[in-house]
Symmetry: C2
Amino acid sequence: VEGKKRLTKGQRTKREILNVAKRLFLSQGYTATSMRQIAQAAGITPAAIYIHFQGKEEIFTTLLGEAAPFEIIKNLFETIVAQNTEILIEDTLLRLIDVLFGHEDYLRLALIDVQERNSASIVTYLPEIFPVGLAYHQRLQSFEKGESWLRDLSPFLFMRALMSLISGYILTDYVIRSVTTVQLPEIDWIGGLVDIFLHGVLKPPEIGVR
Amino acid sequence: VEGKKRLTKGQRTKREILNVAKRLFLSQGYTATSMRQIAQAAGITPAAIYIHFQGKEEIFTTLLGEAAPFEIIKNLFETIVAQNTEILIEDTLLRLIDVLFGHEDYLRLALIDVQERNSASIVTYLPEIFPVGLAYHQRLQSFEKGESWLRDLSPFLFMRALMSLISGYILTDYVIRSVTTVQLPEIDWIGGLVDIFLHGVLKPPEIGVR
DNA sequence: TGTACATCAGTGAACGCGCGTTCACTGATGTAC
DNA sequence: TGTACATCAGTGAACGCGCGTTCACTGATGTAC
Protein backbone atom coordinates (compact mmCIF):
# COMPACT_ATOMS: atom_id res chain seq x y z
CA VAL A 1 0.00 0.00 0.00
CA GLU A 2 2.85 2.38 0.77
CA GLY A 3 4.32 1.13 -2.51
CA LYS A 4 6.27 4.14 -3.57
CA LYS A 5 8.22 4.29 -0.32
CA ARG A 6 9.54 0.72 -0.66
CA LEU A 7 13.08 1.75 -1.50
CA THR A 8 16.19 0.09 -0.16
CA LYS A 9 18.62 2.18 1.87
CA GLY A 10 20.95 2.33 -1.12
CA GLN A 11 18.27 3.61 -3.44
CA ARG A 12 17.27 6.29 -1.00
CA THR A 13 20.86 7.46 -0.66
CA LYS A 14 21.30 7.53 -4.43
CA ARG A 15 18.17 9.67 -4.71
CA GLU A 16 19.47 11.99 -2.02
CA ILE A 17 22.80 12.39 -3.80
CA LEU A 18 21.00 13.37 -7.01
CA ASN A 19 18.80 15.87 -5.19
CA VAL A 20 21.58 17.73 -3.42
CA ALA A 21 23.90 17.56 -6.46
CA LYS A 22 21.20 19.14 -8.61
CA ARG A 23 20.76 21.96 -6.14
CA LEU A 24 24.51 22.57 -5.95
CA PHE A 25 25.13 22.36 -9.71
CA LEU A 26 22.32 24.82 -10.37
CA SER A 27 23.56 27.37 -7.88
CA GLN A 28 27.33 27.06 -8.43
CA GLY A 29 27.90 25.40 -11.79
CA TYR A 30 29.58 22.09 -12.56
CA THR A 31 33.28 22.77 -11.94
CA ALA A 32 32.74 24.82 -8.80
CA THR A 33 30.74 22.05 -7.15
CA SER A 34 32.94 19.44 -5.42
CA MET A 35 32.29 15.83 -4.50
CA ARG A 36 32.99 16.71 -0.87
CA GLN A 37 30.24 19.34 -0.95
CA ILE A 38 27.80 16.85 -2.43
CA ALA A 39 28.74 14.21 0.13
CA GLN A 40 28.40 16.57 3.05
CA ALA A 41 25.03 17.85 1.87
CA ALA A 42 23.84 14.25 1.47
CA GLY A 43 25.11 13.32 4.93
CA ILE A 44 27.68 10.73 3.81
CA THR A 45 31.41 10.55 3.13
CA PRO A 46 32.77 11.28 -0.37
CA ALA A 47 33.82 7.66 -0.82
CA ALA A 48 30.22 6.47 -0.41
CA ILE A 49 29.20 8.36 -3.57
CA TYR A 50 31.32 5.96 -5.61
CA ILE A 51 29.12 3.07 -4.51
CA HIS A 52 26.25 4.63 -6.47
CA PHE A 53 27.99 6.49 -9.29
CA GLN A 54 31.12 6.02 -11.32
CA GLY A 55 32.13 9.62 -10.67
CA LYS A 56 31.16 13.27 -10.82
CA GLU A 57 30.53 13.04 -14.57
CA GLU A 58 27.88 10.35 -14.16
CA ILE A 59 25.99 12.30 -11.53
CA PHE A 60 25.63 15.22 -13.92
CA THR A 61 24.61 13.21 -16.98
CA THR A 62 22.07 11.29 -14.90
CA LEU A 63 20.53 14.57 -13.80
CA LEU A 64 20.39 15.87 -17.37
CA GLY A 65 18.71 12.69 -18.56
CA GLU A 66 16.12 12.78 -15.80
CA ALA A 67 15.27 16.44 -16.30
CA ALA A 68 14.78 16.49 -20.08
CA PRO A 69 11.14 17.04 -21.07
CA PHE A 70 11.51 16.10 -24.73
CA GLU A 71 8.94 13.32 -24.66
CA ILE A 72 6.36 15.68 -23.23
CA ILE A 73 7.10 18.34 -25.84
CA LYS A 74 6.98 15.83 -28.67
CA ASN A 75 3.63 14.59 -27.43
CA LEU A 76 2.34 18.14 -27.11
CA PHE A 77 3.08 19.01 -30.74
CA GLU A 78 1.61 15.77 -32.04
CA THR A 79 -1.66 15.69 -30.16
CA ILE A 80 -2.74 19.31 -29.72
CA VAL A 81 -5.90 20.36 -31.61
CA ALA A 82 -7.96 23.54 -31.97
CA GLN A 83 -10.63 25.07 -34.21
CA ASN A 84 -8.36 27.36 -36.23
CA THR A 85 -4.75 28.29 -36.87
CA GLU A 86 -4.67 31.26 -34.56
CA ILE A 87 -5.99 29.43 -31.53
CA LEU A 88 -3.83 26.40 -32.27
CA ILE A 89 -0.63 28.42 -32.32
CA GLU A 90 -1.68 30.35 -29.27
CA ASP A 91 -2.48 27.18 -27.33
CA THR A 92 0.72 25.49 -28.44
CA LEU A 93 2.91 28.36 -27.32
CA LEU A 94 1.17 28.81 -24.01
CA ARG A 95 1.45 25.13 -23.19
CA LEU A 96 5.03 24.93 -24.44
CA ILE A 97 6.12 27.74 -22.17
CA ASP A 98 4.21 26.04 -19.38
CA VAL A 99 6.07 22.77 -19.89
CA LEU A 100 9.44 24.46 -20.13
CA PHE A 101 8.92 26.48 -16.99
CA GLY A 102 7.80 23.32 -15.25
CA HIS A 103 11.20 21.95 -16.26
CA GLU A 104 13.19 25.08 -15.69
CA ASP A 105 15.91 23.06 -14.01
CA TYR A 106 16.55 21.29 -17.27
CA LEU A 107 17.04 24.56 -19.10
CA ARG A 108 19.65 25.66 -16.60
CA LEU A 109 21.41 22.30 -16.52
CA ALA A 110 21.56 22.27 -20.31
CA LEU A 111 23.05 25.76 -20.27
CA ILE A 112 25.69 24.63 -17.78
CA ASP A 113 26.41 21.64 -19.98
CA VAL A 114 26.98 23.81 -23.03
CA GLN A 115 29.01 26.37 -21.14
CA GLU A 116 31.25 24.30 -18.92
CA ARG A 117 31.41 20.93 -20.61
CA ASN A 118 31.50 21.85 -24.30
CA SER A 119 28.70 19.37 -24.78
CA ALA A 120 25.45 20.40 -26.38
CA SER A 121 22.97 17.98 -24.88
CA ILE A 122 20.09 19.65 -26.68
CA VAL A 123 21.79 18.84 -29.92
CA THR A 124 21.46 15.10 -29.41
CA TYR A 125 17.70 15.48 -29.16
CA LEU A 126 17.33 17.96 -32.01
CA PRO A 127 17.25 15.50 -34.94
CA GLU A 128 14.44 13.78 -33.06
CA ILE A 129 12.42 16.93 -32.53
CA PHE A 130 12.91 18.20 -36.07
CA PRO A 131 10.38 16.05 -37.94
CA VAL A 132 7.85 16.75 -35.21
CA GLY A 133 8.15 20.47 -35.88
CA LEU A 134 7.83 20.04 -39.63
CA ALA A 135 4.73 17.86 -39.24
CA TYR A 136 3.22 20.48 -36.96
CA HIS A 137 3.83 23.20 -39.52
CA GLN A 138 2.14 21.11 -42.21
CA ARG A 139 -0.91 20.65 -40.04
CA LEU A 140 -1.08 24.42 -39.58
CA GLN A 141 -1.02 24.95 -43.32
CA SER A 142 -3.76 22.43 -44.05
CA PHE A 143 -6.41 24.41 -42.16
CA GLU A 144 -9.51 25.69 -43.93
CA LYS A 145 -8.77 29.12 -45.32
CA GLY A 146 -12.06 30.73 -44.26
CA GLU A 147 -10.67 31.61 -40.86
CA SER A 148 -7.36 33.33 -40.18
CA TRP A 149 -4.57 31.28 -41.64
CA LEU A 150 -0.82 31.00 -41.86
CA ARG A 151 1.23 33.18 -44.17
CA ASP A 152 3.34 31.39 -46.71
CA LEU A 153 6.54 31.09 -44.69
CA SER A 154 9.41 28.62 -44.89
CA PRO A 155 8.72 25.90 -42.31
CA PHE A 156 12.29 26.28 -41.07
CA LEU A 157 11.87 30.00 -40.58
CA PHE A 158 8.60 29.38 -38.78
CA MET A 159 10.23 26.85 -36.45
CA ARG A 160 13.13 29.11 -35.71
CA ALA A 161 10.84 32.07 -35.01
CA LEU A 162 8.94 29.86 -32.60
CA MET A 163 12.11 28.67 -30.88
CA SER A 164 13.39 32.25 -30.73
CA LEU A 165 10.20 33.42 -29.08
CA ILE A 166 10.40 30.70 -26.44
CA SER A 167 14.10 31.00 -25.66
CA GLY A 168 13.96 34.78 -25.83
CA TYR A 169 11.11 34.85 -23.36
CA ILE A 170 12.94 32.58 -20.96
CA LEU A 171 16.20 34.52 -21.21
CA THR A 172 14.56 37.90 -20.65
CA ASP A 173 12.70 36.34 -17.75
CA TYR A 174 16.04 35.53 -16.09
CA VAL A 175 17.23 39.07 -16.55
CA ILE A 176 14.02 40.66 -15.34
CA ARG A 177 13.94 38.51 -12.24
CA SER A 178 17.43 39.59 -11.22
CA VAL A 179 16.67 43.28 -11.71
CA THR A 180 15.45 44.80 -8.50
CA THR A 181 16.23 48.42 -9.23
CA VAL A 182 13.55 48.97 -11.86
CA GLN A 183 9.90 48.49 -11.02
CA LEU A 184 8.01 46.95 -13.93
CA PRO A 185 4.24 47.16 -14.37
CA GLU A 186 2.14 43.99 -14.18
CA ILE A 187 1.64 42.81 -17.73
CA ASP A 188 0.39 39.59 -19.32
CA TRP A 189 3.80 39.15 -20.92
CA ILE A 190 3.24 35.77 -22.51
CA GLY A 191 -0.11 36.74 -23.98
CA GLY A 192 1.39 39.94 -25.32
CA LEU A 193 4.39 38.24 -26.91
CA VAL A 194 2.23 35.55 -28.50
CA ASP A 195 -0.04 38.28 -29.85
CA ILE A 196 2.94 40.01 -31.45
CA PHE A 197 4.11 36.68 -32.86
CA LEU A 198 0.71 36.19 -34.48
CA HIS A 199 -0.06 39.71 -35.70
CA GLY A 200 3.18 41.70 -35.59
CA VAL A 201 3.83 45.11 -34.03
CA LEU A 202 2.52 47.14 -36.96
CA LYS A 203 -1.02 48.02 -37.94
CA PRO A 204 -1.75 47.13 -41.57
CA PRO A 205 -0.73 50.09 -43.81
CA GLU A 206 -4.21 51.23 -44.94
CA ILE A 207 -7.70 50.50 -43.66
CA GLY A 208 -10.45 49.10 -45.88
CA VAL A 209 -8.28 48.65 -48.96
CA ARG A 210 -5.70 45.83 -49.08
CA VAL B 1 54.02 58.13 -36.33
CA GLU B 2 53.93 54.53 -35.10
CA GLY B 3 51.97 55.97 -32.17
CA LYS B 4 49.80 53.02 -31.33
CA LYS B 5 52.72 50.67 -30.83
CA ARG B 6 54.39 52.88 -28.23
CA LEU B 7 53.62 50.60 -25.32
CA THR B 8 55.96 49.77 -22.49
CA LYS B 9 56.90 46.14 -21.93
CA GLY B 10 54.56 46.00 -18.96
CA GLN B 11 51.61 47.29 -20.96
CA ARG B 12 52.26 44.78 -23.70
CA THR B 13 52.35 41.92 -21.18
CA LYS B 14 49.13 43.13 -19.55
CA ARG B 15 47.46 43.17 -22.96
CA GLU B 16 48.73 39.68 -23.67
CA ILE B 17 47.38 38.37 -20.37
CA LEU B 18 43.95 39.79 -21.18
CA ASN B 19 43.99 38.27 -24.66
CA VAL B 20 44.85 34.74 -23.62
CA ALA B 21 42.61 34.88 -20.54
CA LYS B 22 39.66 35.88 -22.71
CA ARG B 23 40.30 32.96 -25.03
CA LEU B 24 40.56 30.52 -22.13
CA PHE B 25 37.52 31.84 -20.23
CA LEU B 26 35.40 31.64 -23.37
CA SER B 27 36.36 28.07 -24.16
CA GLN B 28 36.47 26.61 -20.62
CA GLY B 29 34.52 28.90 -18.34
CA TYR B 30 35.71 30.91 -15.35
CA THR B 31 36.31 28.27 -12.66
CA ALA B 32 37.90 25.75 -15.00
CA THR B 33 40.50 28.25 -16.18
CA SER B 34 43.54 28.48 -13.89
CA MET B 35 46.08 31.20 -13.34
CA ARG B 36 48.82 28.75 -14.33
CA GLN B 37 47.12 28.15 -17.67
CA ILE B 38 46.83 31.89 -18.29
CA ALA B 39 50.46 32.44 -17.34
CA GLN B 40 51.73 29.65 -19.55
CA ALA B 41 49.70 30.84 -22.53
CA ALA B 42 51.05 34.36 -22.01
CA GLY B 43 54.63 33.09 -21.76
CA ILE B 44 55.26 34.23 -18.18
CA THR B 45 55.19 32.73 -14.67
CA PRO B 46 51.98 32.84 -12.59
CA ALA B 47 53.57 35.27 -10.13
CA ALA B 48 54.10 37.84 -12.88
CA ILE B 49 50.35 38.13 -13.40
CA TYR B 50 50.05 39.74 -9.96
CA ILE B 51 52.21 42.63 -11.08
CA HIS B 52 49.43 43.63 -13.48
CA PHE B 53 46.25 42.42 -11.76
CA GLN B 54 45.10 42.00 -8.18
CA GLY B 55 43.96 38.47 -8.95
CA LYS B 56 41.84 36.22 -11.16
CA GLU B 57 38.71 38.17 -10.33
CA GLU B 58 40.12 41.41 -11.67
CA ILE B 59 41.17 39.85 -14.96
CA PHE B 60 37.61 38.73 -15.58
CA THR B 61 35.91 41.98 -14.63
CA THR B 62 38.38 43.94 -16.75
CA LEU B 63 37.48 41.76 -19.73
CA LEU B 64 33.76 42.24 -19.15
CA GLY B 65 34.18 45.98 -18.91
CA GLU B 66 36.22 46.16 -22.11
CA ALA B 67 33.83 43.99 -24.09
CA ALA B 68 30.53 45.67 -23.22
CA PRO B 69 29.01 47.50 -26.22
CA PHE B 70 26.43 49.49 -24.26
CA GLU B 71 27.63 52.88 -25.39
CA ILE B 72 27.34 51.84 -29.01
CA ILE B 73 23.84 50.45 -28.52
CA LYS B 74 22.71 53.53 -26.66
CA ASN B 75 24.01 55.68 -29.46
CA LEU B 76 22.32 53.51 -32.05
CA PHE B 77 18.88 53.90 -30.48
CA GLU B 78 19.26 57.62 -30.02
CA THR B 79 20.53 58.63 -33.44
CA ILE B 80 18.94 56.24 -35.92
CA VAL B 81 16.45 57.79 -38.35
CA ALA B 82 14.26 56.53 -41.23
CA GLN B 83 11.29 57.63 -43.32
CA ASN B 84 8.65 55.52 -41.58
CA THR B 85 8.01 53.21 -38.65
CA GLU B 86 8.50 49.98 -40.52
CA ILE B 87 11.86 50.87 -42.00
CA LEU B 88 13.03 52.39 -38.73
CA ILE B 89 12.31 49.22 -36.76
CA GLU B 90 13.81 47.07 -39.47
CA ASP B 91 16.97 49.15 -39.60
CA THR B 92 17.26 49.25 -35.83
CA LEU B 93 17.00 45.49 -35.46
CA LEU B 94 19.39 44.73 -38.28
CA ARG B 95 22.01 47.09 -36.88
CA LEU B 96 21.45 45.90 -33.32
CA ILE B 97 22.07 42.31 -34.30
CA ASP B 98 25.11 43.48 -36.21
CA VAL B 99 26.56 45.24 -33.18
CA LEU B 100 25.84 42.30 -30.89
CA PHE B 101 27.44 39.81 -33.21
CA GLY B 102 30.42 42.11 -33.53
CA HIS B 103 30.62 41.83 -29.74
CA GLU B 104 29.74 38.19 -29.47
CA ASP B 105 32.50 37.68 -26.92
CA TYR B 106 30.70 40.00 -24.57
CA LEU B 107 27.53 37.95 -24.81
CA ARG B 108 29.37 34.81 -23.86
CA LEU B 109 31.35 36.45 -21.05
CA ALA B 110 28.14 37.87 -19.63
CA LEU B 111 26.56 34.43 -19.73
CA ILE B 112 29.56 32.98 -17.88
CA ASP B 113 29.27 35.77 -15.35
CA VAL B 114 25.62 35.01 -14.67
CA GLN B 115 26.17 31.27 -14.56
CA GLU B 116 29.36 30.88 -12.59
CA ARG B 117 29.62 34.03 -10.57
CA ASN B 118 26.01 34.75 -9.61
CA SER B 119 26.57 38.24 -10.88
CA ALA B 120 24.33 39.73 -13.50
CA SER B 121 26.59 42.24 -15.17
CA ILE B 122 23.89 43.14 -17.65
CA VAL B 123 21.74 44.16 -14.75
CA THR B 124 24.06 46.98 -13.75
CA TYR B 125 23.67 48.51 -17.19
CA LEU B 126 19.93 47.94 -17.48
CA PRO B 127 18.70 50.99 -15.57
CA GLU B 128 20.85 53.01 -17.93
CA ILE B 129 19.47 51.43 -21.08
CA PHE B 130 15.86 51.58 -19.94
CA PRO B 131 15.07 55.25 -20.59
CA VAL B 132 16.78 54.94 -23.98
CA GLY B 133 14.33 52.20 -24.93
CA LEU B 134 11.33 54.18 -23.74
CA ALA B 135 12.43 57.27 -25.66
CA TYR B 136 12.86 55.13 -28.77
CA HIS B 137 9.35 53.75 -28.40
CA GLN B 138 7.96 57.27 -28.11
CA ARG B 139 9.69 58.34 -31.28
CA LEU B 140 8.13 55.36 -33.05
CA GLN B 141 4.68 56.38 -31.89
CA SER B 142 5.06 59.98 -32.98
CA PHE B 143 5.37 59.09 -36.67
CA GLU B 144 2.86 60.39 -39.23
CA LYS B 145 -0.02 57.96 -39.40
CA GLY B 146 -0.33 57.96 -43.19
CA GLU B 147 2.28 55.25 -43.53
CA SER B 148 2.34 51.97 -41.63
CA TRP B 149 2.48 52.70 -37.96
CA LEU B 150 2.85 51.09 -34.57
CA ARG B 151 0.00 49.26 -32.85
CA ASP B 152 -1.02 50.58 -29.47
CA LEU B 153 1.23 48.37 -27.34
CA SER B 154 2.63 48.86 -23.87
CA PRO B 155 6.15 50.29 -24.32
CA PHE B 156 7.41 47.69 -21.85
CA LEU B 157 5.88 44.86 -23.83
CA PHE B 158 7.36 46.30 -27.01
CA MET B 159 10.82 46.49 -25.46
CA ARG B 160 10.64 42.99 -24.10
CA ALA B 161 9.46 41.63 -27.46
CA LEU B 162 12.42 43.35 -29.06
CA MET B 163 14.84 41.96 -26.50
CA SER B 164 13.30 38.50 -26.85
CA LEU B 165 13.74 38.58 -30.60
CA ILE B 166 17.39 39.53 -30.29
CA SER B 167 18.34 37.10 -27.53
CA GLY B 168 16.24 34.34 -29.06
CA TYR B 169 17.97 34.78 -32.39
CA ILE B 170 21.40 34.65 -30.79
CA LEU B 171 20.57 31.60 -28.68
CA THR B 172 19.12 29.63 -31.59
CA ASP B 173 22.16 30.64 -33.58
CA TYR B 174 24.39 28.92 -30.99
CA VAL B 175 22.31 25.76 -31.19
CA ILE B 176 22.16 25.70 -34.97
CA ARG B 177 25.89 26.19 -35.27
CA SER B 178 26.62 23.17 -33.07
CA VAL B 179 24.24 20.91 -34.98
CA THR B 180 26.07 19.16 -37.75
CA THR B 181 23.68 16.25 -38.24
CA VAL B 182 20.84 18.23 -39.82
CA GLN B 183 21.39 20.14 -43.05
CA LEU B 184 19.47 23.43 -43.04
CA PRO B 185 18.56 25.36 -46.18
CA GLU B 186 20.10 28.78 -46.80
CA ILE B 187 17.63 31.34 -45.53
CA ASP B 188 17.77 35.06 -44.78
CA TRP B 189 17.02 34.28 -41.14
CA ILE B 190 17.33 37.79 -39.75
CA GLY B 191 15.18 39.33 -42.47
CA GLY B 192 12.57 36.64 -41.96
CA LEU B 193 12.46 37.04 -38.19
CA VAL B 194 12.23 40.82 -38.43
CA ASP B 195 9.42 40.42 -40.96
CA ILE B 196 7.50 38.19 -38.53
CA PHE B 197 8.15 40.69 -35.75
CA LEU B 198 6.64 43.43 -37.89
CA HIS B 199 3.70 41.62 -39.49
CA GLY B 200 3.14 38.38 -37.54
CA VAL B 201 2.80 34.85 -38.87
CA LEU B 202 -0.90 35.13 -39.75
CA LYS B 203 -2.60 36.65 -42.74
CA PRO B 204 -5.32 39.09 -41.74
CA PRO B 205 -8.63 37.16 -41.22
CA GLU B 206 -10.67 38.55 -44.12
CA ILE B 207 -9.69 40.40 -47.27
CA GLY B 208 -11.15 43.79 -48.18
CA VAL B 209 -13.25 44.22 -45.06
CA ARG B 210 -11.59 45.11 -41.74
C1' DT C 1 14.93 -20.82 15.97
C1' DG C 2 20.06 -20.88 15.41
C1' DT C 3 24.17 -20.64 12.90
C1' DA C 4 27.33 -19.63 8.74
C1' DC C 5 28.07 -16.93 5.19
C1' DA C 6 27.33 -13.37 1.48
C1' DT C 7 25.99 -9.01 0.30
C1' DC C 8 24.98 -4.20 1.16
C1' DA C 9 26.11 0.37 2.38
C1' DG C 10 28.92 2.54 4.22
C1' DT C 11 33.75 4.81 6.93
C1' DG C 12 38.35 6.94 7.39
C1' DA C 13 42.66 7.65 5.72
C1' DA C 14 45.38 8.40 2.06
C1' DC C 15 46.93 9.02 -3.05
C1' DG C 16 48.91 12.48 -6.30
C1' DC C 17 47.76 16.70 -8.07
C1' DG C 18 46.60 21.44 -9.24
C1' DC C 19 44.70 25.50 -7.20
C1' DG C 20 45.24 31.01 -6.10
C1' DT C 21 48.49 33.63 -4.02
C1' DT C 22 52.88 35.37 -1.57
C1' DC C 23 57.64 36.37 -0.99
C1' DA C 24 62.53 37.02 -1.37
C1' DC C 25 65.30 37.91 -4.91
C1' DT C 26 67.25 39.50 -9.71
C1' DG C 27 68.70 41.48 -13.95
C1' DA C 28 67.52 45.09 -17.24
C1' DT C 29 66.20 49.68 -18.10
C1' DG C 30 65.62 54.64 -17.01
C1' DT C 31 67.02 58.92 -14.54
C1' DA C 32 70.04 62.50 -12.04
C1' DC C 33 74.19 64.71 -11.43
C1' DT D 1 80.30 60.17 -21.11
C1' DG D 2 80.45 57.85 -16.52
C1' DT D 3 78.67 56.58 -12.23
C1' DA D 4 74.94 55.81 -8.46
C1' DC D 5 70.63 54.76 -7.64
C1' DA D 6 65.57 53.86 -8.36
C1' DT D 7 62.18 51.61 -10.75
C1' DC D 8 60.33 48.09 -13.79
C1' DA D 9 59.14 43.52 -14.99
C1' DG D 10 59.92 39.72 -14.06
C1' DT D 11 61.65 34.47 -11.78
C1' DG D 12 61.46 30.32 -8.83
C1' DA D 13 60.17 28.23 -4.84
C1' DA D 14 56.96 27.71 -1.56
C1' DC D 15 52.46 28.47 1.29
C1' DG D 16 48.15 26.03 2.76
C1' DC D 17 44.34 24.08 0.77
C1' DG D 18 40.82 21.49 -1.66
C1' DC D 19 40.27 18.55 -5.59
C1' DG D 20 38.49 13.60 -7.63
C1' DT D 21 39.31 9.13 -6.61
C1' DT D 22 41.01 4.61 -4.41
C1' DC D 23 41.55 1.21 -0.94
C1' DA D 24 41.46 -1.65 3.11
C1' DC D 25 38.30 -2.32 6.35
C1' DT D 26 33.59 -2.68 9.04
C1' DG D 27 29.14 -3.30 10.94
C1' DA D 28 24.36 -4.19 9.65
C1' DT D 29 21.18 -6.73 7.02
C1' DG D 30 19.55 -10.69 4.17
C1' DT D 31 19.66 -15.64 2.85
C1' DA D 32 20.36 -20.88 3.14
C1' DC D 33 20.23 -24.92 5.59
